[in-house]
Structure formats: C-alpha cells, structure tokens
C-alpha cells in the first residue's frame, strides 16, 4: 500500500482550475518534494490532502483512507506544518507541544513525556519554558515541525518549511528533516530548488495545476537535458509567468 495515492484530483475555484486531474503515488516512508511557481497548485494540493479543502473531483487515499469519504480517519494519521509558523504565541514551547499531543488524544502524562522528547530531538529543551513568541524565527519553525510530529503521524505535510529563514537556520532545519527520512511519508513543498535536491527522494514539478514531471533530481535533469535542476525547472514552467 502506498502512503499517498492521488487519483485524478482536481480543484476549481469559480472559473480558475488550481489543480487539474493530478495523479501521483508516494511510497510509505518516501520524502517527495512538490515544486512549482506561485499559483502552480502546490498549496491547494496539500490543503485537499489534509482535509482543509474539498476536491472538486477525484480522490486521494492516505494509507488507504479516502480524503472524500474518510476525512476523520485521514485527520487522525496526518499532520501539517503550515507555510507560516503556526504556534500559540503566549504559550511556552513545551505548552504548545502538550496542547497538540492532547488534541490528538494523548493522556496528560504521555503528552508531557512526548513533549520532552520532542524538545530534546529539536534542541529546544533550554527554551522549553519560554513563550513561543520570544523564540527566534528558526526556533519557532523547529517548534512548528515538532508540533506536527508529536502526534506520531504516518504522513507529514511540510509546506515551505524553511521559508524566510537565514542560511544557517535553514541548514539546521534540513538536518532535522533528514532524520525523518524513511520513518514517515513526507510531502514537502518548497521554492528552494537546492532544498528539494538535498532532501527529497523524488521531485514533482507542477505548472498551472498539472504535474509536468516526476523523478529524482538527476532523472529530471537527464529527461530535460539540462545541467541544473533550476534550468530544468525553468524549462518546464516556461510561459507560466506570462499567463499569471
């Protein structure tokens, strides 16, 4: 069974098609990067897969559960780390983690234990009692991802996890994300092509709501005849800007 199986998934807003008959299979434990320019349909795809938006047509199976008919089951096994840092600002780092664990049904004791584990894993133990709003941008992003992982999800959606971070904080976060490879299924969206190349097992490039190509970074370069992933990306999304 695949971790994620997307079948003819489409989303239309009034007369604009954001995602157009998308088909994609992602294996369990695979890290898949979804690339595309702004408005390509990446975030809409993640929102549909995580039950935040209803598809106009098509379906997707997450660990065998349909996003159309089994939304509650899907929400129990997934987690989302949104594009912007999504933490409760006046709660401490530890309180944020406990809150999410409790929402996913952990007992108070287990939630506290899991929170301490996450603080350790994401090197936030020293700032555990500090309010989330007082943490640096990089630390807030680490906390945001730790909050997404505390429920032991089988599938994790990382929407632009390093957006706005400086180089050091980004590389630091990469290390944490790399440690998740093989353990859970991850769908990652990013604007940073080097991030996709460094982290993902496979990459898909979307343009105008359609998947243009799927493969490893080297396969994409080979198929497009380009030397770099950036050149391949530009070639595959050419003309999109003029249409936007």
């Amino acid at each position: 069974m695949n971790g994620i199986e997307i079948i003819n998934l489409s989303k239309t807003f009034k007369n604009r098609t954001a995602v157009d008959a998308l088909n994609l299979s992602i294996q369990q434990g695979e890290m898949f990067a979804l690339l595309g320019q702004n408005g390509a349909g990446k975030t809409t795809t993640i929102k549909m897969l995580s039950g935040l938006l209803s598809p106009t047509s098509g379906d997707a199976k997450l660990m065998g559960n349909s996003i159309v008919t089994q939304t509650a089951a899907v929400k129990q096994i997934i987690s989302v780390s949104p594009q912007e840092t999504a933490v409760a600002p006046k709660l401490s780092a530890r309180e944020n983690l406990i809150l999410i664990a409790r929402i996913y049904g952990f007992s108070a004791k287990d939630a506290a234990r899991k929170a301490d584990e996450m603080l350790e894993t994401f090197t936030l133990t020293e700032r555990a009692k500090d309010k989330a709003k007082s943490l640096s941008g990089g630390m807030q992003r680490r906390l945001s991802i730790a909050m997404a992982l505390i429920s032991d999800p089988q599938i994790l959606f990382l929407d632009e996890p390093t957006l706005g971070l400086d180089v050091r904080a980004r590389r630091d976060l990469w290390k944490h994300i790399e440690q998740l490879k093989g353990k859970i299924t991850i769908l990652l969206t990013t604007h940073y092509l080097e991030e996709a190349e460094a982290l993902a097992d496979r990459i898909g490039i979307m343009s105008r709501g359609r998947m243009q190509i799927i493969g490893s970074a080297s396969e994409i370069k080979e198929k497009t005849g380009k030397v770099t992933l950036e050149d391949a990306f530009l070639a595959l999304t050419e003309g999109e800007e003029a249409l936007q």
Binding site: L52, K75, V80, P82, T85, A88, L99, I103, Y104, F157
Partner: protein
C-alpha cells in the same frame, strides 16, 4: 475531550495578556470607584444618580462586553497566524472549537463580575444571596458577548475586530441605561434601546440585585434569545471558515 485542552490554551492566551486584565476587570472597577467617590464628594448630586445598586450591575455588564474584544482578537489572530489551519487539519470537530473558544470565557466573566460586586460592597451594596443570583444572571450575558466575539473573529481581520468590538462596547455602554436613565430620553431612543439586548441585560441584573425576581426572566429572555441567534450565526460562519 479535545476541547478541554483547547479551552485551557485559550484561557492562557487571554489571561497572559495584561491589557485583557486591565480593561476587562480593572476598567469597570475604576469606574465604580470614580463614580462613587464623585457621588460622595458632590453633595448636591441627586441620590438616585449612580446609586451603587444600579451602577454596579451596569458596570458588570459593561465589563463583560470586553469579552467580545478578547475572543474576537484571539480567533482573528489564530486565523492570521495559520494556527487555526494546523488545528483544522487535526481531528478536532466543529463542536470542539466552539466549546474550546467559549468555555474559558465563563471563569473570566465570573471573575469580572466578582470584582465589580466586591468593589460595590465597599460603597454600601448589601451582600446577600441576591448578589450571587446577579452573578448567575450575568452568565447568559457573558454567553451573548462570547457569541459576538466568535462571530467577529470568524469573519473579520484582526484590525477590523478591534474597531467593531469597540463599537459594540460603546453601544453596550450608551444604550443600556448604565450612564443615564433611559426614561429621561424615552420615545424612539428608548424603544431602540429595548430592541437591543444590552438594556435588558442591565435590567435583569438590577432586578436580581434588588430581589425583584419577577422582572429577571422577561429581561434575560431577550438576552438569551439574542445569544442563541448570534451563536447560530457565529457557528455557521466558523464552519464555513473551516471549509474555505
């Protein structure tokens, strides 16, 4: 029981904002102090003006109107920061959100009312079971202001919530008979005031304080009716927001 973890978080977010405490509890208490000291120092002031048995119930209602501001801002900020997007992808249901946002307002409301009546005791308000009854009568008033906060937070931006909540706080103050007897103006103005729930809220609490039990239900029924209507509207808007 997911709502208990969520409501605990919401209570912390509000209580940890010193401005909430200052405005919600401190402001009505300061007004009671000022008016009663002024009344004591101006010998020619008519005895019925700002009489503590009438003024304290009005201030208790006025204090509760700040709940709309607290709750509206909390929800709008959650939406603004993507925190709600994370939660919408979790197994929490619509009912968990409504209870989670509304329940923390009750202890805050009781604290506000207790502060108002305790201050009034120093200025001659006799303590009796009627004082406790007044606190009970104020619960539907708190529910009404919570519903308004839920509605505003669901449909407006952070800055809009600030503006519209201030308008509601002012309307609740000036059209409820707190500052002047509505019979002094009478006519269409008085009729309009009694079409809104705020004057009924003040009258029901005054009736409780004075032991005029027969007058509680006719007035509090208006408040409960408005609370129910606004809650239905707020829940509809919130659920629509969850799906959009």
């Amino acid at each position: 029981m997911k709502y208990t973890a969520f409501s605990s978080r919401n209570a912390k977010e509000i209580i940890r904002d010193p401005l909430s405490i200052l405005f919600g509890i401190g402001f009505p208490v300061i007004l009671i102090l000022l008016m009663q000291l002024m009344k004591a120092s101006i010998k020619d002031m008519p005895p019925e003006m700002f009489q503590v048995a009438d003024f304290a119930p009005g201030m208790a209602v006025f204090g509760l109107s700040f709940i709309t501001l607290f709750l509206g801002l909390l929800i709008a900020n959650d939406r603004n920061s993507s925190f709600l997007m994370r939660l919408f992808a979790s197994p929490m249901t619509g009912l968990d959100y409504i209870l989670g946002y509304s329940l923390p307002m009750l202890p805050i409301a009781i604290l506000q009312c207790a502060a108002c009546f305790l201050t009034a005791l120093f200025f001659g308000l006799p303590f009796s079971l009627n004082t406790l009854l007044a606190v009970v009568v104020l619960i539907p008033v708190a529910v009404l202001f919570s519903a308004l906060g839920l509605l505003l937070g669901s449909i407006l931006s952070v800055s809009q919530v600030g503006g519209i909540s201030s308008l509601i706080i002012n309307v609740a103050a000036w059209l409820s008979g707190v500052w002047f007897n509505l019979d002094m103006i009478g006519g269409v103005f008085k009729n309009i005031c009694y079409l809104l729930p705020f004057a009924h809220a003040v009258d029901s609490v005054k009736a409780a304080v004075s032991g005029d039990y027969g007058q509680i239900l006719p007035h509090i029924a208006w408040v409960m009716g408005y609370a129910l209507l606004v809650y239905i509207l707020a829940i509809g808007c919130f659920k629509k927001r969850m799906k959009s």
